[in-house]
Symmetry: C2
Subunit: 327 residues, 2 copies
């Protein structure tokens, strides 16, 4: 570790430990993980590469928040409360000190917002594009992590929030697609700064038998839940919850079925798809919450393996990459 790395860890990242003793001020070879009696530790790790999982143009502040948020989404779907993070970051030569500071500032803002402390990690330089990985630790009451595979036939399939905004948002952020200026801004922001459903973790844990985060696309991730649960699933595309900008986009499409399939397979939604007993699911969908943030009943775990998507009672052919790999 050279002088620059030493100074940079001190100035950029040490403040992000928020004084957590187990981080040892990022001065040691390792950190401790605090254990809490009656709680299990849950861990996830995701990486991003600029230009691959993030646009070339994405500013460092936003990149940092996306990196944390995609990991937070994984924990939320497991019913876990986030606790601490480790970061490995590879700075490209063209990033200035201001870029690196903006990255740390974006990360710090979100770590504080989601009550996560930084425990450690590594900073390196790379001749390639910006790249980073985050390891996120969370907690659930012992034995209560919600698995993908806990669903049973007859359970209701639920999804949180709205679907398709990530996919439309990527187009909006790239300046592609046909949107009003206002919708473009809103959708692009949904792509850049997804809202992990940390607020739903407790409901997932209390009410759902199985859950996954919606990152690959709703149909793919619902399929993962069904496959892991040893069931199939039936989804009514007309019931997939859409935001007002997504509904306006849909109204402009000529092939409504194909457009709905695109929204349901696009990915990057960072919502939660879950299975719950019908009575419990009915309660969840009624509880509502903020408009466009609550649970929607989109279908059922069915006995026959595989996924069937319906529209107006008719099966719809689903063959996009988001789903095909489960067949």
């Amino acid at each position: 570790m050279g002088q620059r790395e030493f100074d940079e860890i001190a100035s950029l990242f040490r403040p992000l430990t928020f004084g957590a003793e187990e981080a040892f001020e990022l001065r040691d070879d390792a950190a401790l993980i605090r254990q809490v009696p009656g709680q299990d530790l849950v861990v996830t790790k995701d990486a991003i590469v600029q230009g691959v999982h993030a646009l070339e143009s994405e500013p460092p502040f936003v990149l940092a928040q996306r990196l944390l948020r995609v990991n937070l989404s994984d924990l939320a779907a497991k019913g876990a409360v986030p606790y601490a993070a480790l970061l490995a970051v590879a700075w490209p030569a063209e990033w200035t000190a201001e870029d690196r500071t903006a990255f740390a500032r974006g990360l710090g803002e979100d770590l504080r917002r989601f009550d996560v402390c930084l425990l450690g990690g590594d900073t390196v330089s790379t001749p390639g594009p910006f790249q980073a990985s985050l390891t996120l630790l969370g907690r659930v009451p012992t034995g209560r992590m919600v698995r993908r595979g806990g669903g049973t036939v007859g359970q209701t399939l639920l999804v949180s929030g709205t679907i398709g905004d990530g996919w439309l948002g990527l187009q909006a952020a790239r300046g592609e697609g046909d949107f009003s200026a206002e919708d473009r801004d809103w959708l692009a922001s949904r792509y850049h700064r997804p809202e992990p459903r940390t607020d739903l973790a407790e409901e997932v844990r209390a009410a759902c038998s199985a859950a996954a985060d919606v990152s690959d696309g709703l149909l793919a991730d619902a399929g993962h839940v069904a496959l892991a649960s040893g069931t199939g699933c039936e989804i009514d595309l007309e019931r997939v919850p859409l935001s007002p900008p997504a509904r306006r986009w849909l109204a402009r499409q000529t092939d409504r079925a194909a457009a709905l399939v695109s929204l349901a397979t696009g990915g990057d939604d960072y919502e939660i798809v879950a299975a719950a007993d019908p009575a419990v699911a009915a309660q969840l969908t009624r509880s509502g919450g903020e408009a466009g943030r609550g649970w929607t009943d989109i279908g059922v775990l069915a006995p026959a393996p595989g996924l069937v998507a319906h529209m107006s009672g008719q099966p719809v052919q689903v063959s996009r990459a988001g789903w095909s790999h489960l067949e």
Copy 2:
């Protein structure tokens, strides 16, 4: 996650969970971390970038092992026993399926050797060079992690194994430097596949008050221990343990003091520098072990801040990057 990533995780990485239940066959959004009563969890995370921390020419099999080993070295210096790992890997376009398989094979061989299971992670592609980060979890008896800052004035400074082989090994691996063919091979192999001192973790825990792994260079890392302990340190360069190839190299150098400083600041040794009470330290150095693998008394934690290096009783000027950043 597309079909390729899905298949690749199944074929390359699922076997590396070694059936650990808490990995959920790498099929879920997150893994559990098994907790053991009476044990603390210790965590570290290091990243490597090909061409930066690893030679361009380093084969995938070797890269994987280096990545794991540098992390194992951190845990060993904390007195921790390794338990589980999470991996984020960015495949460059030019890596073939054989390269990726070789990486997983190298990693798997070493995970098994060091009794570590894979719990999760992420595989992505990158237009840049190969890059990966590993998060390593280990265990120590509660409250017994060995810190950098636990040393006190008057304690003996110890180092494990031999020093300078990593630095000479990098030159040897690059085809630089003046070595016999046999020494070149031996040194290059020390660079490519460092031997983390997992075997010493229990001794570190039982006998040492402070410890760090020797990755930045012996003088820098001894300095870290002293600084964190609120002491200075005095090191006798003549007592720094050298391997037979390093001794042969040293004998060919005209400026012996400068050469010793180079060996002691070069880094990549992945040995352990530790502080222990003199009587305990004397026992450790006597216990010996395999030639070139045991502990050597190289100096003392001194009251005056800073590092003083001696040779034949005379102070030696130390100003290389490996040390300078502590001043």
